[in-house]
């Protein structure tokens, strides 16, 4: 009867934990395989750069505490795993004594807002375009949309971002260059503030949408062509259903399923790409915070953010996986 079987939920949860564990382990191990002792080098660089001399002792102490630098590697690893599991990401090196959690919490809403809206919109628009392209009754006029949207697919989002920034912010001055809302506005639910937020998010969102739309369209077109040849489509036609009903309930409803799976797979890459978009547009989300970390050699901040990115993407995938059986009644049978 569709729905979730216990076995399925356990499997998906296991997959979630495995992904998070793999990710956190990789960012622990690989830097330590690099030649030299990056940790010592890092502390050395911190001290010589001397940006924060008055707090240097505290910073080093925070760092030692975070990584348990005096322990052997395997103890360090387990401590690190424990800290990660308890979401104890510690303090920022460059912005000591800010807690990394607090820093992320401040920028996260902006990233979620931007990414969520952009990804959902591109998914909807892209799939709609793709479905229309495959549909026999679609006017020929719409058909030249595919090559156009495909052209953008192959280009990374941040490049589109740079071009949009140049044309619409620099040349035409239609949109702001940077930031998340106009200076001097008080955050609130008034029209002016919301308008300003939308205006600032428009170009970054567009660059993500333009890039990912085409691949959804291409995938959907293929799926619709396959679906259109199914026997149940012919029977739906024979039943005298309206074209709209056939298009939605019989066509899209079935063709969209593999697309949703693909969405889960693409999430990680899309999240990575949007980091760069935030940097291009100086959009104060998690990606921009990450860039601050890189510029300041703030390793705990970088590591903390990436840990949260890994967890965030995995949670999104888990949610998708768990809702999927509710959309496709066959799934609990096929996967078990």
């Amino acid at each position: 009867m569709g729905g979730l079987s216990k076995e399925y939920v356990i499997k998906r949860l296991g997959m979630f934990l495995l992904t998070v564990w793999l990710g956190t382990t990789v960012i622990f191990i690989v830097p330590r395989m690099a030649p030299g002792d990056p940790v010592q080098a890092m502390i050395g660089r911190m001290l010589t750069e001397g940006s924060n001399v008055e707090n240097a002792d505290q910073i080093v102490e925070a760092y030692r505490e975070r990584f348990g630098l005096n322990d052997p590697v395997h103890v360090q690893y387990f401590k690190y795993l424990y800290n990660s599991a308890t979401f104890n990401t510690g303090y920022s090196l460059a912005f000591f004594p800010s807690r990394i959690d607090d820093m992320i919490a401040r920028s996260l809403p902006w990233t979620i807002g931007l990414l969520f809206v952009a990804l959902i919109l591109s998914f909807i628009i892209g799939n709609a375009v793709g479905a229309l392209l495959a549909w026999r009754r679609t006017p020929k006029m719409i058909r030249w949309l595919l090559p156009i949207s495909l052209t953008f697919t192959s280009i990374p989002a941040y490049m589109i971002g740079i071009m949009l920034l140049f044309f619409f912010a620099f040349m035409l001055d239609w949109f702001p260059y940077a930031g998340n809302y106009a200076r001097g506005l008080n955050p609130g639910w008034d029209l002016e503030f919301i308008g300003s937020v939308i205006k600032h998010a428009f170009l970054p969102a567009m660059s993500i949408i333009m890039v990912s739309m085409g691949s959804w369209a291409l995938g959907m077109r293929g799926m619709m062509i396959t679906t259109d040849g199914e026997d149940y489509m012919i029977l739906a036609d024979a039943k005298g259903l309206t074209p709209m009903r056939i298009f939605w309930r019989y066509g899209i409803r079935n063709a969209i399923l593999p697309q949703i799976t693909a969405f889960g797979v693409a999430l990680g890459a899309l999240a990575g790409g949007s980091v760069l978009v935030e940097i291009i547009f100086t959009y104060p989300g998690v990606g921009y915070l990450l860039y601050q970390g890189i510029l300041n050699s703030d390793f705990t901040l970088i590591q903390g953010i990436v840990f949260y990115v890994i967890v965030g993407v995995s949670i999104a995938v888990l949610i998708l996986d768990l809702t999927y059986p509710l959309i496709d009644p066959r799934i609990t049978y096929q996967r078990s």
Binding site: L22, G23, I155, G222, V265, G272, V275, I302, I310
Partner: protein
């Protein structure tokens, strides 16, 4: 492959038969051609242009491209035919920069994708052909690995390992280039294993290696090529991403590093479009060429797609 193309070939002219040769797909040929031109840049570039001009301070700074009039109020200098694409704020000459950086970006992608694809072939074949626990562990591992946001992890690694060169960056990127090929090869091997000719070969006692290379490889080739191409593309994407963040190789110019310099110098807001647009044009050309190849190879691998598109 040839059999599939000649379904309607009974009455077609000689020319039509030649045009239907699957590997002569125009998208594939065009894409490969463009990429070969770019790789040749590395060898041909220095012959007709002084690529040493890509070094910092080798030409006057802030020169506009030769066909543009310089806006002196913004501090730009008049262009010169000696430096046709202008120069950036560090005194690098743009044409030399593009000539040096383009083949390098391509190289990173090719190395990373080769490593990733080879790993993918080995794991995919092992999983699909041997099956059992090996198959399930490889499948689960690649599924999980795919969900990890690669660029984010690469950022952590690259920020520790500051002294990157092209090869070590390619190596690190390859860490995230294998799950895609593995999945595709595994799926193809699984479906092929069920087909008649492989089973025939098994029954007739051919060795596993023989079956892999003599029976299955030729049929897997278009899939392999398509996966490889898209992996090259995503590897270049990751590499330029790191470079734009300032985490790539710092000693030699790359396309991503040029964009990073441009961004840090606010080139967009200063109107120095030639600083970032030439690298972007080159990258877009690379991505388009790779995309054309992927589509072309897809059409070769699935002849059905060709029919639908008419």
């Amino acid at each position: 492959m040839t059999a599939a193309t000649n379904v309607f070939g009974t009455r077609s002219s000689r020319m039509a038969v030649i045009l239907r040769l699957p590997w002569l797909n125009w998208k594939l040929v065009l894409g490969v051609g463009v990429l070969i031109l770019m790789i040749l840049m590395e060898f041909v570039g220095p012959v007709f242009w002084d690529t040493e001009l890509a070094r910092v301070g080798s030409v006057p700074t802030n020169m506009v491209p030769v066909w543009v009039e310089a806006d002196k109020s913004l501090g730009f200098k008049e262009g010169s035919p000696d430096y046709p694409l202008g120069s950036e704020s560090n005194g690098r000459e743009m044409l030399a920069l593009v000539l040096v950086a383009t083949p390098r970006s391509l190289k990173v992608g090719l190395i990373a994708a080769s490593l990733g694809t080879i790993t993918g072939i080995i794991l995919g074949f092992a999983a699909g052909f041997l099956g059992g626990w090996l198959d399930s562990s490889i499948r689960i591992l690649s599924d999980a690995w795919m969900t990890i946001p690669g660029l984010a992890v690469l950022i952590v690694i690259a920020s520790y390992v500051r002294e990157f060169d092209i090869n070590s960056m390619a190596l690190v990127i390859a860490m995230f280039a294998w799950p895609g090929p593995t999945r595709i090869i595994r799926a193809q091997v699984l479906s092929m294993r069920e087909r008649g000719y492989v089973q025939m070969a098994q029954i007739s006692g051919s060795s596993v290696i023989d079956i892999m290379f003599k029976e299955m490889m030729p049929n897997l080739l278009p899939y392999l090529a398509a996966t490889f191409t898209s992996t090259v593309s995503s590897s270049i994407l990751a590499a330029t991403g790191l470079e734009i963040l300032g985490l790539g190789p710092t000693r030699i110019p790359t396309l991503g590093m040029t964009i990073n310099n441009a961004l840090r110098a606010s080139a967009i807001l200063r109107g120095m479009w030639w600083w970032w647009s030439f690298p972007i044009v080159m990258l877009v050309t690379i991505f388009m060429a790779l995309f054309l190849m992927t589509i072309g190879l897809d059409e070769i691998a699935n002849p059905r797609l060709r029919g639908i598109q008419q």
